[in-house]
Symmetry: C2
Subunit: 209 residues, 2 copies
DNA sequence: TTTGATAAGTAACATTTGTTACAGACTGCC
DNA sequence: GGCAGTCTGTAACAAATGTTACTTATCAAA
């Protein structure tokens, strides 16, 4: 685990000295598949870096309708929780482990110092922000400009990228939830995609062709 | 103009020393109402701070369909252009002056140094990021969870907040463009809002009651 | 005042998406 | 095998949004 932290940070251009510090002051946190990691309304005092596994970041409204914003994969961090913390703001999204996952938790109070001291860390933080930003924009694009059928196909392709697998292990109901629509609609559209030869369906599993 | 810059930065908690620097290395830029300030695909070497007026930030797809992301008002900055610059990435949105506006342009190469040196500047930058992020999330909320009628009403209220005026000076067509729908639909829904007593319509102008 | 251009109103219809209701299929467990 | 629970397929219908076509209103310039 220390090893994967080291290689991830080193990959990101962080110098050994800082990696050492991050190892010293942080601690690991594991999450089982399906486990809720951040709930709306909570405040956290740690910035998580994903070492292994996959997290989904989901937005909810008052009626518990949901929409998937993006995934956090190995090496990525939830920069939002940073500003969230700096400003003492509450989280307004929900983060769930999609897989068995391992996070490295860094206490917030170190961050400002590191940002001041290490150019590489500044770069890492700003780059995460930018990546998240771009993902949000892509999400907006999908919702705004695509028909449901295309959005659904993109959803499947994104999931495939995130999990590095052509198999999507979700029920129609779960997909419907993450896309803020209904199960029947998803069934209809998946059937359509199947007829077009883009996917193959099984129970609780979709194969992307 | 120097005065409004000073008061804005001082309001944001920036110390006099840095304000002085920002004044020294930056320069003003004025934009007429309707003028295009940032076009998709361009790269800019400056971070703009809005001194006066109002900018709209709009996302476009390949077919030139558009959707309004948010407004930038006095005192706010386009933090995105920051990371955009750090990473040498291209802008993928369009920024337009909604009003006669004045910006203060800061050359990018100073930013990293200031972030390192001034805690207040770090705070300013991160806070802008956070504000933008929140606005994007709100935009996603509207698109995802609201019916068009409610989204339209919210659109008008947002515009009212941004311009500090109960009069929205836009044609139905312009509103339709910014909401990525058609003029006829907007006319229909505005009529509905008028019947509900929420607005009053005139040519090129909507009064919010 | 006429004219041309733009803006807004409206009806009729098409398409997309959402809902309800029910049937059949699969899975795990007894 | 039988049963209970979950998942998927499908039809019929409802609601929301998009499109087309045309009319009327408003404004400003000639």
């Amino acid at each position: 685990m220390q090893e994967s932290l080291k290689s991830i940070l080193s990959e990101a251009g962080i110098e050994d000295e800082l990696i050492q510090e991050i190892q010293n002051v942080g601690f690991p946190k594991t999450a089982r598949s399906g486990e809720l990691i951040i709930t709306p309304g909570s405040t956290s005092m740690h910035m998580p870096i994903v070492l292994e596994g996959l997290l989904s970041v989901v937005r909810q409204d008052e009626d518990a309708n949901e929409i998937l914003l993006y995934y956090l994969e190995g090496g990525e961090t939830c920069a939002m929780s940073l500003a969230c913390c700096i400003e003492g703001k509450r989280n307004d999204f929900k983060v769930t482990a999609e897989d068995e996952s391992v996070l490295w938790m860094i206490p917030m109070n170190y961050l400002d110092g590191w940002i001041q001291k290490y150019k590489s860390f500044r770069k890492y933080i700003f780059s995460s922000y930018q990546v998240r930003f771009d993902e949000l924009l892509e999400t907006i694009d999908s919702i705004t400009f695509l028909k449901l059928q295309d959005r659904l196909y993109k959803f499947l392709l994104d999931k495939k990228e995130a999990t590095r697998s052509y198999e999507v292990n979700m029920s129609h109901q779960e997909i419907a939830n993450q896309m803020n629509t209904s199960r029947v609609v998803i069934s209809r559209l998946l059937k359509q995609l199947e007829r077009e030869g883009k996917i193959e369906q099984h129970r609780n599993r979709i194969e992307i062709l």
